[in-house]
């Protein structure tokens, strides 16, 4: 059983200790970075707005996990995307708990492909987009992908066996093969297919998104964070929400202002600050940290903070059959069709998409999977629950300057601070890709006898990216290829906000790879006294 209890005695660093590294957010980026720095002897204060839970706390009772894990502070939204209509109060679905979204993620670990890091060059100057190339080449990232995959014990990589085929994967596989697809398998998954890393193999419970109660799925909650604590160099402050990053007269950051668990305002000094709050809150925190010196928000001389928000072309496709599938049994996302991840503009759009296995539990299906449906149409799909199988589309959306996170002018959170406002207008490329993906997924299901296929519209964004992006030119983005902000040398972006473009891969593995790479850089820079 994976270990979630804090190492004792707990390490505490003084609030006026200006030698510590402050990391804000304990998910894939922040949690990994904390472990990497602390194991090198660097002292870290890790802030997390949410509570620290244990595996025992996780619940498979409908609704309980969602209430326990989800970031439910208000957010507002606008734009043409259908999420505004279908999920008015939940534009983005992320976590507020120690471990961040690595607690509720499904474990899918595809890599970005080499050409996806050259999106502007590959796709051209498309109207209505703000595409750039990544400032780093795939070859520079490759070594860190290897390290990340070994760290997360990703299946089908480095000799780790794949996960066994579930009922719903048999459906996907037979259909995809009938269509001639070649690269169809049970996925690159950070879910143990055998005992590894002190964690057990998957029991196929079917509750990945509710928090894995046995820890078979990698999460920083029970891997990176307790290991960082064991070094004696980590001071984890759960239920402490950072509300502002402060800087000195020279423009370098000096520390953070936060609310402690009782809601009292506190300060923590820092040698450097790494922001890893998930792309919506990372942008919000930088914007909230505006000052006389940085009137548009911290590290925002480019006016790019919050812009270029990407969230993937996503959505479910449900197939209903004459025979049982029992698709709720087994790992939620363990299956993928990779053939459409290519860039083939002949399909009518640039960029590619994954078709991934998916299923929702009975209570979640009508709410998240068929959110606008009612009447006989809804009832007919629900009556087929035993005989259903599902897929999730995960495709590259294109950055747009006005798809962005801003501070809401009127709505405030519990501390009186403006909440994040998310604006998204779909680009026609996104729409064309979605249609193509839905058509192909429908054909997959029909090839194995589906008598009804239902395509959902977009779901609340679980993959939030690019709102403080890396760029070679400081005018195009917020940070350099190491995640170091162009404006403030001791301020880093350490989550998916730093992606230059979203690619078609589920983002967690790339966030971990970038965090591992950033840790090397920070250590070198600190040793050289450059930061």
């Amino acid at each position: 059983m994976a270990e979630t209890a804090p190492a004792s005695p707990r390490t505490r660093f003084a609030q006026n200790d200006d030698g510590v590294v402050v990391i804000i957010g304990s998910g894939a980026g922040g949690g990994t970075l904390a472990h990497e720095l602390t194991r090198r002897g660097i002292r870290v204060v890790l802030f997390e707005a949410g509570k620290r839970l244990t595996l025992e706390d996780f619940s498979q009772v409908p609704g309980e996990a969602f209430a326990m894990l989800t970031w439910l502070d208000p957010r507002t939204q606008s734009g043409t995307w259908t999420v505004r209509e279908d999920f008015p109060t939940l534009p983005s679905w992320t976590c507020k708990t120690v471990g961040g979204t690595t607690v509720h993620w499904t474990g899918a670990c595809p890599r970005q492909q080499p050409w996806e890091l050259r999106a502007r060059t590959e796709y051209g100057d498309l109207p209505g987009t703000s595409l750039i190339d990544w400032p780093i080449a795939y070859e520079e990232l490759e070594k860190y992908y290897d390290l990340a995959e070994r760290r997360l014990v990703v299946t089908r990589r480095h000799g780790v066996p794949g996960l066994p085929a579930s009922n719903k994967f048999k459906v996907m596989y037979a259909g995809a093969k009938a269509l001639g697809y070649q690269r169809v398998h049970t996925g690159y998954m950070a879910i143990n297919s055998q005992p590894a890393d002190g964690r057990p193999p998957c029991l196929q419970m079917g509750f990945c998104v509710q928090g894995c109660k046995i820890g078979a799925k990698w999460s920083t909650l029970y891997t990176e964070i307790p290991r960082a604590e064991a070094t004696g160099n980590l001071d984890l402050r759960a239920e402490c929400m950072v509300t502002r990053i402060e800087h000195g007269p020279d423009g370098r950051v000096t520390g953070v202002v936060y609310r402690d668990p009782s809601g009292r305002e506190q300060r923590q000094r820092a040698r450097l600050v790494c922001v890893a709050c998930n792309a919506v809150e990372t942008a919000r925190l930088l914007l909230l940290s505006e000052s006389g010196k940085f009137p548009r928000g911290l590290a925002n001389s480019s006016d790019q903070v919050g812009r270029n928000y990407c969230h993937h072309v996503g959505g479910f496709v449900w197939g209903c059959f004459d025979k049982p599938v029992h698709a709720w049994r087994g790992a939620v996302l363990a299956g993928v069709v990779e053939d459409e991840t290519k860039n083939d503009p002949k399909r009518g759009f640039v960029g590619g998409y994954h078709l991934e296995l998916a299923m929702l539990d009975l209570p979640s299906l009508p709410l998240a999977g068929l959110p606008y449906m009612w009447g006989r149409e809804l009832a007919a799909v629900m009556e087929d629950y035993r005989n259903m199988s599902g897929m999730f589309i995960c495709g590259e959306d294109l950055p747009r300057p006005d798809n962005r996170i801003t501070l809401d002018p009127t709505v405030r959170d519990q501390y009186g601070l403006p909440v994040a406002h998310i604006h998204v207008d779909d680009h026609e490329n996104d729409t064309a890709m979605r249609t193509h993906a839905q058509t192909q997924a429908t054909r997959i299901f029909e090839a194995v006898g589906a008598r009804r296929v239902v395509c959902s519209r977009a779901t609340p964004a679980t993959h939030n990216m690019c709102t403080a992006r890396m760029s070679a030119d400081p005018c195009d983005g917020v940070c350099n290829g190491w995640g170091q902000t162009h404006d403030v040398p001791n301020l880093f972006i350490s989550d998916g906000s730093a992606f230059s473009t979203p690619g078609s891969a589920n983002p967690t593995l790339t966030i971990v790879a970038l965090a591992l790479r950033q840790a090397d850089y920070i250590e070198r820079q600190m040793s050289a006294r450059s930061i």
């Binding site: 498979q60 009772v61 409908p62 609704g63 299946t155 089908r156 066996p161 794949g162 996960l163 066994p164 085929a165 579930s166 009922n167 994967f169 048999k170 459906v171 596989y173 037979a174 169809v184 398998h185 049970t186 297919s193 055998q194 193999p201 998957c202 029991l203 196929q204 419970m205 079917g206 509750f207 109660k213 046995i214 025979k323 049982p324 599938v325 029992h326 709720w328 049994r329 087994g330 539990d361 009975l362 209570p363 299906l365 009508p366 709410l367 009612w374 009447g375 006989r376 809804l378 009832a379 629900m382 009556e383 629950y385 035993r386 194995v448």
Partner: protein
């Protein structure tokens, strides 16, 4: 003080209602019910309002094999929310009044037409979400739809059918992986 509280009491008595029914013989719901007769007390809505609301819920998610008792659970949940939240209660009452008493006994096409006209209203959207949130969450619904639910206490589905589908070919080993312990 006393006058206010007795006025509140009268108000409570005036507005509280009850929904009743009888489970069909052999109903799957009978497994969970102590007797075939059921009654759901309402604290805020009247019996007449409850009957209209039940018809709204059934029209939103019309499962012919699910009995009124399953929908009465949704009505009770909405009634409970209304008893805690005055503005919500007002929204529900006004929405039900707009539909009118005849709605409860109207045929399904008529009910669907009436709801389509108010599809984008906050009243309809609230009731739709409440219906979906409550209806499919009960043990009754699990039994009806065949959903097995929580699996941790039973050791997951690893040995309980996660890969028992036999109407399609097995996946070759190279695209799948070994079953632990098999």
């Amino acid at each position: 003080m006393q006058r206010e509280s007795s006025a509140g009491r009268r108000d409570f008595l005036r507005t509280s209602g009850v929904l009743t029914g009888l489970l069909a013989a052999g109903s799957p719901l009978a497994l969970f019910a102590p007797s075939r007769a059921w009654a759901v007390d309402l604290t805020t809505l009247t019996s007449a309002e409850g009957a209209i609301l039940l018809a709204v819920c059934r029209t939103i998610a019309p499962h012919d094999g699910l009995e009124d008792a399953a929908y009465a659970v949704v009505v009770r949940a909405i009634d409970e929310q209304a008893s805690r939240d005055e503005s919500f209660a007002k929204l529900i009452r006004e929405g039900l009044a707009t539909l009118g008493r005849g709605f409860a006994s109207a045929d399904e096409p008529t009910r669907v037409e009436a709801l389509k006209r108010i599809e984008s209203s906050p009243f309809f959207q609230s009731v739709r979400v409440s219906t979906l949130q409550t209806l499919y969450t009960s043990p009754l619904a699990y039994a009806y739809f065949g959903y097995e639910g929580e699996s941790f206490s039973k050791g997951g589905y690893l040995t309980r059918g996660f890969n028992d589908l036999r109407w399609l070919p097995e996946v070759p080993e190279e695209d799948s992986g070994p079953v632990p312990g098999a």
